[in-house]
Symmetry: C3
Subunit: 261 residues, 3 copies
């Protein structure tokens, strides 16, 4: 049985959250919402979860299950929604996201979604990692050798930050041009394309369109195709809500057009 | 004793959260904040809760207690605030919101506030429904006969979506013109006016003004009066915070003026 | 040993959350994230927390540790992040924020971030206060004698609200010009400069730039220096995430320029 089929079946059985035994519940520290709970409140929501999200959205060819998991996990962290994290952190690992990558996603979003969002994700991930026997040997080093820096492109980026932010806050300039772009973004544990993917996702998922053009353009320069970018929006209608996606549409359109001209 | 008086008294006794016995606490799975907690942290906040919110805001004639409950519940779901949900889900049911309507509100906001927000609300609603003995017979069907579709108006709406979103994401177009407007919005368990009311509330409560004009206009075409729309803003100052309301004011003004001209 | 040194050492030991005994855990009602959890998920995040946030950001001279605590606490309440509240409420009290001031911050943000955010903070603060033996005698009165009102300035402010909001919602006007500015803002338990500081912080931390110019200008008129305002942005990069700060930069710039001309 191929991997996609297994994933599809496990989703069909589990729907949006797995039926957990008592031991599993203790593992997660909280009782997650079960499909029985969803049925007991809204048979319609259970239906949509199964037939629209799992049987349809996740099966669309525009993005791999692995990319959909990366996007979903990033959206949950950006939106600070721990209830769905145990299920989706596990699904992400099942879908091929490496523990080291999940670790890097959380670290990256500490900077883009705020420290408290990352801490909330740590609370869940620590339990998921423990339950799966994922130890320190599978995690990225604290201070690995950095990826090479594109000096020319970064100098231009840094200059723009100095011009725009410098007159307002030298502290923001220092941390932006230092720890953010010369340290975090050069960590090798997550491909640059994935780092941009989760940044764009976090921006759309929290309604922050202003920085989207820079990061979407960067994502596409790092290998994200236009079809994949379109499909991020499709995926996020359900996980970030329609209004956040609709507000991002004109911004994506603009970036698509500029890159084609 | 009329219903409003009973509601007022029960609010006076309970203030923002009921004093729960140990059994109730277990029911909710978490210990909600009690009025004693509020007093122990801020006697001023306790005073404002009682004298401004319950004795004044909820007693204003501009909206029925039932509509205020619909708005409050929608704001809590849109803002992902489970701490106040047990109290306000119960109050909504006491104020005449039918279990089937509460179920539909949660389902509807899965689409407008994101799936994780709905899941968070399910966790609380499942316990409230169980505690009140609300069973499957009181819930809307998963796939009921839909309300009639206004073909002309919807064709125009669909055309605009195709024009604006089509060049960016065909997936978003498909789900918008399919499951969202041809399925969710036609579910009969919630009056169209209420469906628009919670959509507008969710937009204002999460600071998403961009889609507000369309949905406020639709709400008013479905029977929401201008006085009621004004009073939504008044109610949300306290439940969504002043800044979200102040950002919505010019948008509401614009819609009011366009409808009068 | 001076106070800053003690603070620095206690931070070094505790990093972002203290190692709690079982009794402490019960006190908080939930098991907070420990530094061991952070290490088990991301050694990099643990490193950044220690070396960038605690050893560097909090040691910068631009704002006192007390002001940094006020800002951090306000950001957590505005962003509804209870996981980090037990640690930062305790740190704030250690850094010289008075219990009465913490009480007022929560009350103030009920109005600016919404009632549910304040209730979430109450749940944590009630336990922190109880654990530290902070009783009613250390809290602000519910209805103290108000600070004097600057009648001229407030009349102008009230007139603008009447002009802008009046045609849309008389209820919003009444509560704005009544309980908000003639009651809450005149409470003596928090200095006007601090009240403005937390309002600006809440606006930036939740991405609500529209009302920032008025409140930043008011903060600076009440004694916040431009250097301190710049440093708020630096501090919030980590606690509210880079995008919220980047969106606030042009707004701060505009206010700085208008005040200089």
């Amino acid at each position: 049985m191929n991997k996609l089929a297994v994933t599809a079946i496990s989703m069909t059985l589990a729907a949006s959250v797995p039926a957990l035994g008592d031991d599993d519940k203790k593992r997660f520290g909280a009782v997650p919402v079960t499909m029985a709970d969803v049925q007991a409140v809204s048979p319609a929501l259970a239906k949509y979860t199964q037939s629209v999200i799992f049987d349809d959205l996740w099966m669309r060819p525009g993005l791999s299950p692995r990319d959909r998991s990366v996007i979903t996990v990033a959206a949950l962290i950006a939106r600070n929604q721990p209830v769905e994290m145990p299920y989706h952190f596990n699904l992400a690992l099942d879908n091929g996201v490496k523990p080291a990558e999940l670790s890097e996603i959380i670290t990256h979003l500490a900077f883009y979604s705020g420290w408290g969002n990352a801490t909330g994700a740590v609370a869940v991930a620590a339990q998921v990692f423990a339950a799966r026997g994922i130890g320190a040997d599978q995690l990225p080093e604290a201070s690995p050798a950095p990826l090479p820096l594109d000096e020319t492109a970064d100098a231009e980026r840094a200059k723009r930050v100095e011009q725009n932010v410098g007159p307002v806050s030298q502290g923001v300039v220092e941390y932006t041009n230092g720890v953010l772009f010369k340290d975090l973004w050069l960590r090798p544990g997550l491909a640059p394309r994935d780092r941009s993917l989760i940044t764009v996702t976090a921006l759309v998922a929290s309604g922050q369109v202003a920085q989207t053009p820079y990061h979407l353009d960067r994502a596409m320069s790092a290998g994200l195709t236009q079809d994949q970018a379109s499909e991020i929006l499709t995926h996020l209608t359900f996980y970030a809500g329609w209004p956040n996606v609709m507000s991002a549409v004109p911004v994506f359109k603009d970036v698509f057009e500029k890159r084609q001209s």
